[in-house]
């Protein structure tokens, strides 16, 4: 199979869906001629015109609300929010409009919009451009939330998200755009709400999402060297969460480390850890370990940033702490 960069896989998903369905439109800052600051929308305005690939003013709040309005009238808007740090600006439209209207209006409308954004640290972008805010969006009923790590899933989940009749928040990571992987051509979709076991193992389950899956895989390699066999579960979807796959793995290994790049306190990892403790209580040999970004604004300077964002090393350390 051909290998594509993560950004190219997303671009292909957008192009295919736009070709197949004229109601798919893109709204965002700098997504037109420039093709997006991470080049995910490269050359799409050229192909589909400025009516379907719309450069918007810097107005995240209205951009999101406008997605809701367009979606309820039959369009399928895909909105690009440049950094996840700007999600707070979108949250009113997400929590008070996008997520509620299908339910509150008793099914009279659906809101098939996708809100793409990218988060994460490690690039020296500072406290206002490095956050991972999974926890804020995945708490909201009526939204779906996905965060693929591999290019194939990026393509498959984006296509599924565009076709979903519900609002979907699609979380990317700035350090993933240049990673590559095999990506199926054509109509490849991945079901929202399904995790994947991306490495099998017997001693510990590492549950991760987005870039942290790569760190978990690295940690698994390292630990294999000391005879510890790690199973790695890539959540892919955060809401709905595939509890069954996670729990099946933990029942096998009896130990779990949950890795999420959001701040540890009140982070998405708390939900995953709580669910594991609820559903696999009798099977656990040790408390579920949780790893997240230290509870601090993310500092700019390299040694400081590296100290607060989780990595393979922190995962290895957590596993080794069990002795």
């Amino acid at each position: 199979m051909r290998r594509l960069r993560y950004a190219e896989a997303l671009n292909e998903a957008l192009r295919e869906e736009m070709r197949a369905d004229p109601s798919v439109v893109l709204y965002g800052e700098d997504i037109g001629i420039y093709g997006g600051v991470f080049k995910v929308t490269r050359a799409l305005q050229e192909e589909f015109g400025a009516e379907r690939v719309v450069d918007t003013p810097i107005s995240e709040q209205t951009m999101t609300g406008m997605g809701v309005g367009a979606a309820m009238m039959g369009l399928r808007p895909v909105i690009e929010i440049m950094y996840a740090d700007f999600l707070p600006l979108c949250l009113d439209a997400l929590a008070n409009q996008a997520s509620i209207l299908h339910f509150v209006w008793a099914g009279q409308v659906s809101v098939p919009m996708v809100l793409r954004t990218q988060g994460g640290g490690g690039a020296g972008a500072g406290a206002q451009h490095s956050k991972s805010l999974e926890a804020m969006v995945s708490h909201i009923p009526g939204l779906k939330v996905v965060s693929p790590v591999f290019p194939a899933d990026a393509k498959g989940l984006l296509k599924a998200a565009i076709r979903d009749p519900n609002p979907v928040v699609f979380l990317e990571h700035k350090l993933l755009y240049n990673t590559t992987g095999e990506v199926p051509e054509g109509d490849h979709t991945v079901e929202i709400g399904k995790a994947a076991v991306v490495r099998e193992g017997s001693d510990v389950t590492l549950v991760a999402n987005s870039r942290m899956v790569l760190e978990a895989l690295k940690a698994a390699d390292t630990l294999a060297g000391s005879g510890i066999s790690c199973e790695v579960v890539d959540l892919r979807s955060l809401r709905p969460l595939d509890t069954a796959t996670i729990v099946a793995s933990v029942k096998k290994t009896s130990r779990a480390v949950v890795v999420n790049e959001g701040w540890r306190f009140g982070g998405f990892g708390a939900e995953v850890a709580a669910q594991i403790s609820e559903a696999a209580f009798e099977y656990l040999d040790a408390p579920v370990a949780r790893i997240g970004t230290h509870d601090l604004p993310i500092p700019y300077s390299e040694p400081l940033e590296a100290a607060v964002v989780p990595s393979a090393a922190s995962i290895v350390e957590a596993v080794r702490a069990w002795g």
Binding site: G65, V68, G69, L75, W105, Q108
Partner: protein, 332 residues
């Protein structure tokens, strides 16, 4: 007079204004009897604005409303019984009791919809207008909001985008002098909000919001511009909220003089006087009486409708995309 309503239209607007007023008064009565639930925001005094503006819209045009939307609901053609049923949380309400009075929507008449987040309807209207523009069928969106909402950030963002993209959208601001309890002079740096339209290269007009004919005419011009691809218009209807901000209003912030000064401008009395000139007092009174009876019947029916059962919640948080996008305004 350009853009003036026909006599039939005026009669219909009067009928609807009376319905709205009786609706509000009935809700006030029932509140006093402890029979309502949650805050209810009456629009007594603002009927000419809401009814005059919606009268110009077709069923397949779209409107977004606010927490104070009863005139928009009635004006857009919603069935009164189902509106009342929703206000009382009944299974027969427009939203099966899930929405309550601030959030009513009706897909068939293009009411999409009420909104209890101040300013919340405006970005949605921008998106709706973008979609209608793409469809190219000449449909328009009217977004209703208050003088308080005009101070929100989304109002600026929405006006900028609507003007930038020449969307088929009318910004209809009901300037009733107050946010909840705060007078406009403590909330807004200028008195005449329509003057802000110039900052977006958008036409802005002020109109006597208690004169239903004036409202109708201004709206008709704006809607025609929108349909013809001329882009958005900002209409500021100067009006006054004659009752509390909601049923929980404890008063004490309005001067008696101010309230007295507005009383003679009551839009219903003014429309009635107008009609009496044409139809005579008797027919006009009969019209009003009929409207009042309709309201009574709607309450009787709605209040004997059943409450939803919790099995209603079984369909859960997600939708399955049950319907297509083409049946908006199907009541047309």
């Amino acid at each position: 007079m350009t853009n003036a309503p026909s006599q039939d239209e005026l009669v219909e607007m009067f009928r609807r204004m009376v319905i709205v007023r009786r609706l509000e008064e009935k809700l006030g009565d029932l509140h006093k009897q402890g029979r309502t639930r949650g805050p209810i925001h009456r629009c007594d005094g603002q009927e000419a604005a809401g009814i005059g503006a919606t009268a110009v819209l077709g069923t397949d045009d779209v409107a977004t409303s606010t927490h104070r939307g009863h005139a928009h609901y009635i004006g857009k053609g919603l069935d009164l019984r189902r509106v009342v049923a929703e206000i009382f949380g009944r299974a027969t309400g427009y939203c099966r009791g899930r929405a309550g009075h601030m959030l009513i929507a009706d897909r068939a008449t293009g009411m999409l919809g009420g909104n209890a987040i101040v300013g919340g309807g405006m970005p949605i209207a921008v998106g709706q207008a973008l979609a209608l523009k793409a469809q190219g069928r000449g449909r328009v969106v009217a977004t209703f909001f208050g003088d308080g909402a005009a101070q929100t950030g989304v109002c600026h963002e929405s006006m900028n985008m609507a003007a930038l993209w020449k969307l088929p959208l009318v910004f209809f601001c009901e300037h009733n002098q107050y946010g909840l309890t705060v007078h406009a002079r403590f909330q807004s740096s200028i008195e005449d909000l329509h003057r802000r339209a110039a900052g977006y290269g958008m036409p802005g007009v002020a109109v006597d919001g208690n004169d239903v004919v004036a409202v109708y005419r201004a709206m008709r011009e704006a809607v025609a511009r929108a349909r013809d691809g001329g882009g958005p218009t900002f209409i500021e209807a100067k009006t006054y909220r004659m009752t509390g901000f909601s049923t929980s209003d404890m008063g004490g912030y309005q001067s008696g003089e101010e309230m007295e000064a507005w009383r003679p401008k009551d839009p219903i009395a003014r429309t009635r006087a107008l009609l009496e000139r044409d139809l005579g007092a008797e027919r006009t009174a009969a019209l009003a009486a009929e409207a009042g009876e309709m309201v009574e019947r709607a309450f009787e029916q709605a209040l004997s409708d059943p409450m939803p059962g919790i099995e209603d919640l079984a369909d859960g948080e997600y939708g399955a995309g049950e319907y297509g996008a083409d049946d908006y305004g199907s009541a047309a």
